[in-house]
Amino acid sequence: MTWLSPLSLLWAGLLVPLVALYVLKRRRQAREVGSTLLWALALRDLRAESPFRRLLPQVALALQALALVAGAVALARPVGAGDAPAGALLAVVIDTSASMAASAAPATPGAVTRLAEAVEAVRALARGLPTGGTMTLVEAGPDAAVLTAPTRDRGALERALAAVRVRGAGADLGEAVALAAERVRGAPGGARIVVFTDAAGEGAQVLDGGRVPVEVRRVGVGGAAADNTGIVAVDVRPREGAESPDRAEIFVRLARFASRSAELYVTASVEGGGVVASRKVTISRDGRASIVMAADLPPDAAGRGALVRVSLSRSGRAVDAGAEDALALDDRVVVPGPGARRLPVFLVGPTPEPVERALRADPGVELFATSLAALAREASAEPLDGLVVYTGETPAQAPPGDSLVLAPTGAAVFGAPLGPEVQRPRLVRWEEGDPRLRFVALGEVRVAAARTVRGGLPALIAADVGAVAAVQQRPAGETTILAFDPSRSDWPARASFVVFLRNVVERARSRRAAGGVAPGRCGEPLRIPAAEGATVEVETPGGAALRAVARGGLALVPVGAEAGVYGVRVGERRTFALRNLLDERESDVRPRARFERGSAGGVVRAVAQREATAELWPYLVGGLLLLLVLEALWATRAGAT
């Protein structure tokens, strides 16, 4: 059995004053007598000075005590006896998306976050496990993961709960429920799935527990607590043609999710330096605001850009205080500055003319024509610090760094197999949210021929025959594969083609400025390229030290949802990694998801974990208890005459 409101057991504390009423002497009426001599002699037992009298067994006291205990237990809302029979298996799914870092109060260091509220509720469930009952914990983050196998070991559950962290953007509750259902399926004593979430997801979410009933418990129920303003996009680019060669423009986009407008300060400062720009912004309710600030951001001696911290604050003076709203995670973003202005771009093979022309038009690009053999020699000496554009033939192994592959001719690109050439494929879908396709529309583009990219790579552009453009992510870089010749399409005639190339170049420039570690979202593990067996040390923005050993050329360091700069040390080499939330859906911490049952017919029951306004009966029972106390007071103090 567990308690939905264990604090209500404090009502049982009224037993103390109740018994005291019976133990304490009654208030007595004074009466003057001629002499107390005879009374004192006759009633020796009343001469004792102790304020207490002996507690005698009394029916009234027993009844009142029983009523008090029953009332307190009722207020504690015991549950579980019916829902979780003996031997039942309980699967608990915990939403670890970034919005779970929101707190009921304005985000302050001591505020209780939704995740903490959920963890505490799970602890209560664990305490109330029936005899023979077991519990399994499933985390619903960007990926669903089982935290503990079904166990009744409180220690194991507690350790798993202690390790639960906000993982970052997104929570696939459906996948997590499916995983939980898989783990509890066939439990002999029945099973159920309890989902703890703030329901801050978009639209309808199907929770398919199969035959296993699913109960959704909402945490973070509150009114003004959901007000939030977040930084949802930041971009720092050099300002061409400016009076200063280091002049850059800082683009910031804000989103507010609240019922009233707010006045905030957006401040840009150089990490380790001072404030370089600040702007006061009035943002309307449920509104968006975009601002551009100009600042001089000179790169360091290695050509790396300065790290620019953009923060939101209520006051222009306390720039690090945050926006004092529900979520602090989106009040601060760190991005790399432009770095060295010119990015080396190495052209390998017969580069299509439209591509070369577009690259040449970019003043921030320095073009070098080379060959595969020459490139192999260069890369063996020292990794290339720029973007490599392959046309046709590609090497067997991907060199470190970023690359763009155009119209590949081999059977595979860096291990990703390619399909045969298909004539006149029809482009049906492209990832508008991908930074490479930002401001790119391909609806009217016609391609003469293309090959398909296989191997499970995420598709960038999909045709009716399959993916014709994809992205290959590696620890030490990424490769954008365009499996068709742009010159054999009408895409170069459109502005979106130039924009696409600029985006690819800009991404390479950002990675170069970021020190070689790919930036990621909050909570995403750090993937740090390192030699096999090398020890990687990481210092989090909060100052915590983490350590990992590289396997397969990569050290994977799991981190919590903490935005900012992670200092990385690999041997003597020092670099950094950046993590930011920058997710509009996560910044909207208001509950808005709808939960639907799956096709298998499982029951989904959504209840608020703490429903402050709907449950009136606790107040009624509280009133009854108060009456009971008053009755006892009357009976023991005034009713004796």
């Binding site: 004074a30 003057e32 001629g34 002499s35 001599l37 005879l38 004192a40 006759a42 005459t641």
Partner: protein, 289 residues
């Protein structure tokens, strides 16, 4: 406000005198005899001769028969002095009617009877010490002054019977009848004071005044009883058990007073409660006559 001077009370005093005369006619001839032995012609008793006694009073006839020197004693026909030793302590103010009213009425009745007889009457109020009293006087004309004096008294202070008696005796009063009118609720006790009076050749008479509530308390729930004179407090739940315990203590107390008076040969009258003061007075006259 005064109940001692109103005509109804005076009529009750006059009727009391008539009743007293009729009931005790022939025993004292309208005047009380002195218990003191004197030199009148009426023989009273013999006693052994001691050196220094008046040899003229030796009964030689008795010596001839008994071969022992004895003196002839005669009833003294001197006038009697009645001292009204009236308790005016704070505890007398309580009761329904107040015990002090009962005590004053008894004193008034005694004084009235004394003054209308041939006796000298003095009023000696006391609490912790002697108060301003009325010196011994005689004659029916003094009844008015007596009643006015009693009427002016108010109860206050703590009872200290022993101290009051010591102060009374310090004035070397002429031996007489001392009517002690009190509730006797004195932590210092009453025995020593009364013994001192007797030793000084006075004849104590006890009028014990108690209220009906003191004699038979009624159940009253949880109370804290406050001593009217000393302020001491006793918490008590006035249930049947507590009342029974109190009654046992009260009975023992009353039996103690009554037994003491009997042993010493003092008259004892319990007054108060529902008993009219006349009844108490007649009870004394009956016992004395």
């Amino acid at each position: 406000m005064s109940t001692l001077l109103d005509p109804a009370f005076l009529r009750r005093l006059a009727r009391l005198r008539v009743v007293a005369r009729r009931r005790f006619a022939g025993s004292a001839g309208g005047a009380r005899r002195s218990l003191r032995r004197g030199a009148s012609a009426e023989f009273a008793d013999h006693r052994p001769y001691f050196a220094g006694d008046d040899v003229r009073r030796i009964d030689w006839n008795a010596y001839a028969r008994l071969e022992e020197l004895v003196l002839r004693l005669y009833v003294a026909e001197e006038e009697l002095t009645l001292y009204l030793l009236l308790d005016t302590s704070r505890s007398l103010a309580l009761g329904t009617p107040p015990k002090f009213d009962v005590a004053r009425r008894i004193a008034a009745a005694l004084g009235y009877l004394g003054l209308t007889g041939s006796e000298r009457v003095a009023v000696v109020p006391f609490a912790g010490a002697l108060g301003r009293g009325l010196p011994p006087a005689r004659g029916a004309r003094r009844v008015g002054a007596l009643l006015r004096h009693l009427d002016a008294l108010t109860p206050s202070g703590e009872t200290d019977l022993a101290r009051a008696v010591e102060q009374f005796l310090a004035g070397a009063p002429r031996p007489g009848v001392v009517a002690v009118i009190s509730d006797l609720l004195d932590p210092g006790g009453y025995e020593r004071a009364l013994d001192r009076l007797a030793a000084a050749r006075h004849e104590p008479v006890l009028f014990h005044v108690l209220d009906a509530e003191e004699l038979a308390p009624t159940p009253g729930g949880d109370l804290v009883l406050v001593d009217a004179e000393r302020g001491t407090r006793v918490e008590v739940t006035l249930d049947a058990r507590a009342i029974a315990a109190y009654r046992a203590r009260l009975d023992a107390f009353l039996a103690g007073v009554r037994g003491y008076a009997k042993r010493r040969g003092f008259a004892y009258v319990l007054a108060g409660g529902d008993v009219p003061f006349e009844e108490a007075l007649l009870a004394w006259l009956r016992s004395d006559g």
